[in-house]
């Protein structure tokens, strides 16, 4: 089986590095040497991806980044196709503005993963952003479409101002999760306190969650317990200060 490309960090990043131009359109078709030429911006210089990473393999639409990328900002920005895996932590605004494909972060994500880039109104507009660890504040802020799954805890204001799309949090959700959401869905499998601008609707079994959670388990191996598939969820409608077409689905443990 061809595992695609592998990018191994040559030495730890000693300063913030901006990866915004590494994975926009067209990367899955690039050979290792061509991808190596894409730019990464350090504080005061522009370097090539190949300067930082040893890139090997054959392009098949998959790439795996190995090394500590907690200093990498804007990683996966504009991702539209293919599957990108990072085997550790990633810095702020990972997957910001992605529109397709899958970005799988095996570790933790910094603030505003999948959120709108500064100056933009919309965050993710498609694709699947999987954070196996925890995510920082305002993950999924202003997302328009797509799926953000967080394997552990989510920071404050997760899903802030969501236009639509889905955020699934396996651990605890931070304060004000879902605040100002228009049509977004927050699925909280752990502890959550819905904002005061949400109103309880009912406790039921949302049929689509069997598909959504089943897919997260089958495709990404996320820890979807059977009780999440068969259990009841408390539905809160909100944000009533916005369109009120959004929801928080809180697993009710039965």
């Amino acid at each position: 089986m061809n595992d695609g490309l592998t990018a191994r960090l040559k030495s730890p990043l000693s300063e913030p590095a901006d990866f915004a131009e590494v994975l926009p359109l067209g990367w899955p078709q690039l050979a290792a040497r061509d991808l190596a030429e894409r730019p990464v911006y350090l504080a005061d210089e522009r370097v090539s991806l190949g300067d930082l990473f040893e890139i090997q393999g054959t392009p098949v639409g998959r790439i795996r980044f190995e090394g500590d990328l907690s200093a990498a900002v804007h990683f996966g920005v504009g991702l539209a196709e293919g599957e990108v895996t990072v085997d550790g932590d990633v810095g702020s605004q990972a997957g910001s503005g992605m529109s397709g494909g899958a970005l799988v972060i095996e570790g933790n994500a910094g603030p505003r993963a999948g959120a709108a880039p500064p100056g933009f109104k919309r965050g993710m507009s498609g694709g699947e952003l999987i954070v196996r660890g925890s995510a920082g504040v305002e993950a999924g802020a202003s997302m328009r479409r797509g799926l953000l799954a967080i394997g552990r805890s989510a920071g404050e204001r997760t899903g802030l101002g969501m236009i639509a799309g889905t955020v699934v949090v396996f651990g605890a959700s931070g304060a004000d999760t879902g605040l100002w959401s228009k049509r977004g869905s927050v699925v909280a499998l752990g502890r959550i306190t819905p904002p005061v601008t949400y109103r309880y609707a009912c406790t039921y079994q949302p049929p689509h969650l069997r598909l959504q959670l089943g897919r997260l388990k089958a495709r990404y191996g996320l820890p979807v317990q059977r009780r999440y598939l068969t259990g009841q969820y408390r539905r809160y409608s909100g944000d009533l200060a916005e369109l009120a077409k959004g929801e928080i689905l809180e697993w009710a443990a039965k």
Binding site: T166, R183, P207, G214
Partner: protein, 300 residues
């Protein structure tokens, strides 16, 4: 050709190209899956009078369905492309949306032709409906008094085959019925085929047109009616006193051939004189299922 003493006539079944959709219904239990499927496939024996032909293809185990619940696979078939979308919207809307605990999914995800179903039914939600894209497919969540009805936005549509058939010519009505039951049991749950008539069996095979009316497009197949043996040009051997027909629709001709082979084999039993088939001289339908070729294994 004879099979266990039953004569296989040198004739063929003549079938037509139809449009087919596969609908997957799931529910909390087999009870509600069956309830929805029976209503969905009700009054759907022949396009002549029902606008659509439908039947249960097979039961699905939880491991075979999109949401890991018990399910059933149903085929719906029409003569035209446009008809299929209309029938799906009518029938899913009236029989699955209304049925407790059920959800409804497309069973032909690879088919390039798509018809809108969920995107039409969503309007029942009166603006409160919501959609979710999961794995690249859009689903509609329609709020209902029970909770939510989940339906896939679009369903695949393929060219299928309708009107595969064979006739069981028996000495008695009991023998014909026993043979028909054995045949339908043998064909049950075979992937890619449905038997759209009651219990899979037709007692009222038809011929094209009518002797008495220009407006009727079908009337009783008098050549195969035992009670008319003395007054019509009969096709029945002397010892035959009852005839039953099995009609088989499918997603492809090969599936129908395979079903006919197992069905005819099961029908060849005591009391059955011959197996025949219905056709129109070969001029109307492009699919010809020759009984002897099928039973000799040359057409499966």
């Amino acid at each position: 050709m004879k099979i266990r003493g039953v004569f296989i006539e040198d004739t063929f079944a003549e079938a037509f190209t139809m449009r087919v959709a596969r609908v997957i219904i799931t529910g909390r239990s087999r009870r509600w899956v069956q309830a929805a499927a029976l209503k969905l496939t009700g009054f759907a024996t022949s396009v002549i009078g029902c606008k659509v032909e439908a039947g249960i293809e097979r039961d699905l185990l939880p491991g075979e369905t999109p949401d890991a619940r018990p399910g059933v696979s149903v085929l719906l078939m029409t003569m035209g492309k446009d008809d299929l979308g209309k029938r799906l919207i009518e029938r899913v809307g009236q029989t699955v949306l209304t049925c407790p605990t059920t959800a409804c999914y497309d069973g032909l995800p690879e088919a390039p032709d798509r018809v809108r179903v969920g995107s039409a039914l969503r309007f029942f939600g009166d603006g409160f409906q919501a959609s979710k894209v999961i794995g690249g497919k859009r689903f509609w969540r329609i709020p209902v008094m029970e909770g939510e009805f989940l339906v896939e936005e679009k369903f695949g549509m393929l060219k299928g085959v309708g009107g595969g058939n064979f006739l069981i010519l028996a000495r008695t009505a009991d023998a014909a019925l026993s043979a028909a039951e054995a045949a339908t049991d043998a064909m049950a749950s075979q992937q890619g085929v449905i038997l759209p008539f009651p219990g899979g069996v037709v007692r009222s095979g038809s011929k094209v047109g009518s002797r008495r009316s220009k407006t009727m497009i079908a009337s009783t197949n008098d050549a195969f009616c035992p009670t008319l043996r003395a007054v019509t040009r009969t096709a029945l051997p002397e010892e035959v006193n009852s005839v039953l027909e099995i009609v088989i629709n499918g997603t492809e001709a090969a599936a129908i051939s395979k079903a006919m082979q197992s069905g005819i084999d099961a029908a060849c039993r005591d009391g059955v004189v011959a197996i025949s088939a219905g056709n129109y001289g070969g001029k109307l339908g492009p699919h010809h299922f020759h009984l002897r070729q099928i039973m000799s294994g040359r057409d499966t």
